[in-house]
């Protein structure tokens, strides 16, 4: 038996936790660069605000209904997400963090009569402990748990918790679910299934497994089996070790100067290196990519990315920035306006794995390690910051490429200066 716990309008709910004045008021959260709406509270959705809507289209609605607008604050959402997952883990033995606001839980040890009370307890716990409302769907398979969760959100009479174990109820729910809404199907596959006269999830559940496998693949066959209550997808609670660390951003406005892009990429490389060191890792390779932005629409240029291997693996920001800047200069094509850049660190492993050579010529690696430690200590102390000059010296210089986040809320839970206030 599985549960899917999904936070209601997660980003908007996070913005409300430390803003009691926003209770009941419509809230929307904007994408990186404040371009369009990526999340809205139930009140905002009721006003007709849709995910993906450009901000300027929603302007009138926002003004008329006093909608609270926020830039995305991933620092806050990340911390509250961690708390949601940890709170769930106090009630069940295994949690699979499926996304920032969703988790699958293993309920195989529960007796059937315990499922409904547990669902309510999970909802209660996260709401009380973290302040974020969630809905819970419980079913014998992950695919059905996902559907049960959707129904729990859609139908208020469920009270936010739906245990879908009765086959008659399951059938009724499947019959009113369009096939494209099934987890793992989506719009395009849904279209092809519609052509085969499979319109609802129930049609798909009754379809011939072998035929589905032949026409599509074993993945869709599994969906059919899961819809019939046969569990094919186990809980994946073990976190895979980090494969890469990415730092990428859209620029605040299109950038046509090499110097500014160089600066941006130096900054991204330094930030990626910082979070890598915080996890005790070192990188064996670094990649850089650039995207152009003519008229606001990204257009691909080739080649748009490059990779350099770092040997031996390193923790040194200076080495990474040097490689990153070299790659930017090689990729750069004059006459284009760039809209986005990214840095990716790969071949990650525990720092210190890089083998010492007994008779190495220089001590630069050791020196680098020590220097980085000093830099990180200073930067974490909160007393001031040190950085490589290549990242740019001041705010006015950086604002050319820095992300637009005009409506950013405080990092209430992770910065001393941003703590919420009580009178």
């Amino acid at each position: 038996m599985f549960a899917l716990v999904d936070c209601n309008s997660f980003y908007a709910s996070c913005e409300r936790v430390f803003r009691p004045d926003l209770a009941g008021r419509p809230v929307v959260v904007l994408s990186n660069n404040d371009g369009c709406i990526v999340a809205g509270s139930a009140e905002a959705k009721a006003l007709g605000v849709r995910t993906g809507m450009p901000l300027f289209e929603a302007r009138d609605l926002i003004r008329k209904h006093r909608v609270a607008v926020f830039s995305s604050n991933y620092v806050l959402y990340g911390d509250l997400s961690r708390r949601v997952m940890a709170s769930l883990a106090t009630l069940v033995p295994a949690v699979e963090v499926y996304s920032i606001d969703e988790a699958f839980l293993d309920l195989s040890l529960m007796r059937p009569e315990e499922l409904q009370p547990l669902g309510l307890a999970l909802r209660e716990r996260v709401g009380k402990w973290v302040g974020v409302p969630v809905c819970v769907g419980v079913a014998p398979t992950k695919t059905l748990a996902k559907l049960a969760n959707h129904a729990a959100k859609t139908y208020p009479q469920t009270g936010g918790v739906l245990v879908l174990t009765d086959p008659r109820w399951r059938e009724r729910l499947l019959a009113r679910t369009p096939v494209s809404a099934v987890w793992g199907i989506g719009r395009r596959l849904g279209q092809r299934l519609n052509d085969m006269e499979i319109e609802t999830a129930l049609d798909l559940a009754r379809a011939d497994c072998c035929l589905i496998r032949k026409r599509f693949s074993v993945v869709q066959e599994r969906v059919v089996r899961e819809l019939n209550g046969e569990s094919c997808l186990p809980l994946e609670a073990r976190q895979e070790p980090r494969q890469q660390i990415i730092h990428s951003r859209s620029f605040g406005e299109p950038v046509a100067s090499l110097a500014a892009v160089r600066q941006a990429v130096s900054d991204f490389a330094a930030r990626a290196a910082e979070s890598m060191r915080a996890e005790g890792l070192s990188a064996g390779a670094i990649s850089v990519y650039l995207r152009t932005a003519p008229m606001g629409k990204p257009q691909q240029l080739f080649p748009d990315s490059a990779r350099a291997s770092l040997s031996p693996a390193t923790v040194d920001t200076r080495v990474m920035v040097r490689h990153a800047v070299e790659m930017v200069e090689a990729l750069w094509q004059a006459g284009y306006r760039y809209g986005k850049a990214g840095v990716m660190l790969t071949d990650l492993g525990p720092a210190g794995r890089e083998q010492v050579t007994l008779f190495r010529e220089d001590d630069s690696a050791e020196e680098g390690k020590a220097l980085m430690q000093v830099m990180d200590t200073i930067n974490r102390s909160g007393k001031g910051k040190v950085w490589l000059a290549g990242r740019g010296m001041n705010q006015s210089e950086r604002c050319v490429w820095a992300m637009r986040r005009a409506h950013l809320s405080p990092a209430y839970t992770t910065r001393w200066a941003d703590l919420p206030r009580a009178r």
Binding site: F18, L358, A417, A422
Partner: protein, 134 residues
């Protein structure tokens, strides 16, 4: 290429520390102040309504949302769209009591309010020591 012998053992010089084998982890303030980590939030105090409870402006409150509030607890509640820190009285009627004679008690029976969490510690700096600046 010359092969050199390489010994991985350490060579002990001097007398071993008499404390060896008696080591314990250093004391951790988080362990003392934070019960349910995922439900604990820190807030900054504004104003002087709780002076007599030893809570001063700029102090940091450790608030545990997992606890059930009881009569006499110091709590953070949201009232009129703001967080407020007060003493919770459940008898004879639910109210929020300031701990400063210059402030009036707030009755909870006739207005909308919500509990944010129970205050377990308040941290008051007697002399600022770096890191946790404002």
């Amino acid at each position: 290429m010359i092969a050199l012998p390489f010994f991985t053992e350490c060579v002990a010089a001097g007398f071993p520390s008499p404390a060896q084998g008696y080591m314990e982890a250093p004391l951790d303030l988080n362990q003392l102040c934070i019960g349910q980590q995922e439900a604990t939030f820190l807030l900054r105090v504004e104003g002087d309504s709780m002076l007599d409870a030893g809570i001063f402006p700029d102090d940091i409150l450790v608030v545990d949302r997992s606890l059930e509030p009881s009569h006499g607890d110091v709590v953070v509640a949201s009232l009129n769209g703001e967080f407020t820190v007060k003493e919770l009285r459940l008898r004879p009627q639910p109210m929020l009591m300031p701990r400063n004679p210059r402030y009036a008690a707030i009755s909870l029976s006739d207005q909308e309010w919500e509990l944010f969490g129970v205050v377990t510690f308040s941290l008051h700096a007697h002399r600022s020591v770096a890191r946790s600046r404002r």
